[in-house]
Amino acid sequence: MKKLVTVLFLCSVLLIPNLFAGGAAEAGAVKAAEDFSETGTLNVLWYAAGGTSGSFECVYRDYQSQVPDLLYDTLIKLDMEDTSKIVPRMADRWEVSADGLVYTFYIRENLNWTDGKPVTADDVVFSLEAQLRGYGIQNERGSFQFIKGAQEYFDKTANSISGVKAEGKKLTITLTQPYGFMMRTLATFVPYPRHLFPADVDYTKFGSYDYWKAPVHCGPYVLESVTFPDYCVLVRNDSWYGPRPGIKRVTGISFDAGGTDAAVAAMIAGRLDLAHSNAFNDVNIASNVVKQNPDYAYNAFFSPYYRLFTTNLTGSADGKWNKFMANADFRKAINLAIDKEAFASYFPGQAVALSTAVNPGDPLYDKSIPLFKRDVEAAKALLKKAGYDGSPIRIAYYYNDQMHNDLMDLTVQNLAEIGIPAESRVVIQDIYAAIYEQKNWDICYAGANQLSGVENYGVVNPGTIYDVYLGNEAVREELFGKYLKEVSATSDPARLKELAILLQQNSLNYGSPIPVISMNKMMIYNDAKWDFDPAWLKASDLAIYRTCDLRLETWKLNKK
């Protein structure tokens, strides 16, 4: 009897897993027919510059997340593979006058906000006003300065923007001069519903309105729920006019509390499917995720974000300015002395040492200019030619972290090698006054992010505050200013390329600004779970971040 019980027990132990295995196989067969895009969820990083506590400022401040692209819409988008092609979005048609000064957009007749109210041209006007007068991240403000009356409105000498007119669904924008990047700017510019803000809206407190707790929008997805500060749930907007997004449900998960480490752990555990943020701009992080969880892959996108040393050519408030900064050979010597490859090595897999302000991956890069190589001897020769007397220079920077402290120490060493004594100082308090007014520095480490590589030369563009770096020397206008005006005005790709080459050559000859590195951006994603249009991986960071049509209809989930 005892033996029989033992045999039965052993048989059951052996059989039970098989029974379950059979069940699992059967369940697998059922699942094979399951459309995971309808039943599953794509988990994307929800990153907001101001945090995700108590407010959903997904557009106003959140600029490193896919979430705003899914919720909000723009007047137009650009095509991912050919950014000269325009994809209709909120506006289904538009006209540009022959002189390039008047843009007319017609907003779709049946387009409504998610609260059911119709989207009007007046909503766009309201949002333009918010961009010009609000506080926060206003990436488009620089471009909107070309709108007639924008400067007066910004300066509060006018109560409205004279160059913008709304008549029902018709929007007219009049510019002061032709601006070739206007359509590209409007591809990123997000309108909000005016009716959900008070009539006497205070743009200086724009982020404080209750609207941001549960924003109303008109994009391809609808905000189903938000649990601050943890996550937001987005579901496909079935009444959206565009192609039906492939994935029904997307969740934005915040890692504000745990930061990059927590998000990386979530990816290794398979709980976060897409992270595309500056926080992950390190190939070591990306490769570690892929190594720990082979379901994942990563891609580095070329981007027009770059770091440079701006040069002070005009003097400082304390009178200690180094007069050799006015000498082009002295500036060129500094450029050749800095170990830009060492700078790039601090951002593994994403940074490129620059010869010009244009990323070598940008089609506008002048390929006749060799990639940057540090040359100490050439730098010394240039110093000799400049008649340099050994007087010290001062370096200012405002990225307050250990890595940048180290990089500035490195720069001091690099300059010492060619015989320039230098000291570096981080500016923390009242940066505006320190950098733009007092200018008690000779070179200043800064960042720039523009719509294109050529626009990076905007740092020497007359009309911006960057004028203070360089003074109003006629030679600067001759070398940069007049070409930049044409860059702004032209829409002709061939002419833009010619101008890009001129600007890069002149920048090398002028020795200013001193470009250091270009910053590519990393995207880590769950390759086994999420399918998308492969054109993504060849696009630029700017393309997949807000500017271009994301082709949501191609998105698919292979797993739940």
Binding site: G50, G51, A257, A269, I435, Y466
Partner: protein, 321 residues
């Protein structure tokens, strides 16, 4: 006793005022500028001096420190906690999204650690000088001497990433905010936050139990023929726990302080992490309020210690100690 209670309660007011003044003075010395955090320096290039000045004025940054302090205090008394400088959100909204998370984490950590600490201490005393006692004592030493963040990271690597039994961080699965749905997210942080507390409590309980077990009344109970269970639980443990109670309550402030590290390690969005984020962003109004709440929690815990001490030892409330 009532008089003692109100006297201790009234002492809160000067203590809170002193704490807020100290926090405010401390924050004045923290380098950084909220404007620089609000607007990237590159974006400043497209602004005007006047705009920056208006912004400072609107945010009240141009007032002298003492004026800002009294404005802040006046608003608090009116129930207005103000707005975050960084994202413009009402601080009360931020606090109400973060405070429940920290209360939940601390309360569960406290409960679990108290139960485990008392239980292990009790067992260790009963089984003194046996392998069980030695093992528990050794574990207690480990719990006290190894920092919590190390336990946290180890737990994430083992249970979150290697075996994937538990989520490596966060507070909830999207769309599943219920308490029972959140339990997998609480297991690791609760146990980790309670480790050092458990170990300390275990050691005190063991010591107190051994002390009590040698008392005459325990020997008398045993000699009357009472069962060992009754002697140990009713006569020994019940008396041994009285001094331990003070330790239990006394450790609450340390437990609250510990959440700052644990919340960071486990991506747990609570008050501790809020303080760290706000300090790094020079978001002083949020730092002030968040620190104020933490200080208030510590004061309440100290108040409980005082009350408990007074209840257990009448000499205290009559000022005889």
């Amino acid at each position: 006793m009532l008089k003692y209670f109100f006297r201790r309660l009234l002492s809160f007011i000067p203590k809170i005022l002193i704490i807020t003044i100290l926090i405010f003075i401390g924050l004045e010395f923290v380098p950084g500028d909220p404007i620089s955090y609000l607007i990237p320096p590159e974006q400043m290039a497209f602004m005007t001096e006047e705009t920056i000045a208006n912004m400072r004025e609107n945010l009240g940054l141009n007032d002298p420190a003492y004026i800002r302090y009294f404005k802040w205090l006046g608003n608090i008394l009116k129930g207005d906690m103000g707005y975050s400088l960084i994202n413009g959100v009402k601080i009360s909204d931020i606090i109400w999204t973060r405070l429940p998370a920290t209360i939940e984490l601390t309360a569960l950590g406290f409960a679990v650690a108290t139960i485990l600490g008392l239980l292990f201490g009790f067992i260790s005393a009963l089984k003194r000088n046996t392998p069980i006692d030695y093992s528990l004592t050794a574990l207690g030493m480990v719990g006290v001497s190894i920092p919590e963040f190390f336990f946290g990271l180890s737990a994430i690597v083992v249970f979150g990433l290697t075996f994937r039994w538990l989520p490596p961080g966060g507070r909830m699965t999207p769309g599943q905010p219920g308490f029972f749905q959140r339990i997998p997210y609480l297991v690791m942080p609760v146990l980790v936050i309670g480790i050092s507390y458990t170990a300390t409590l275990m050691r005190y309980t063991r010591g107190s139990m051994l002390d009590t077990m040698n008392k005459d009344y325990v020997k008398a109970a045993r000699s009357k023929g009472l069962s060992e269970t009754r002697v140990n639980l009713v006569h020994s443990f019940r008396n041994a726990i009285i001094p331990v109670m003070i330790i239990i309550v006394n450790r609450i402030p340390i437990l609250i302080a510990g959440t700052v590290v644990i919340e960071s390690v486990f991506n747990y969005p609570g008050m501790g992490k809020l303080i760290l984020e706000s300090i790094s962003g020079s978001d002083m109004p949020v730092v002030m309020i968040a620190t104020f709440f933490i200080a208030l929690a510590v004061l309440i815990a100290s108040f409980l210690v005082d009350l408990l001490s007074a209840l257990l030892d009448p000499r205290i409330r009559f000022g005889k100690m």
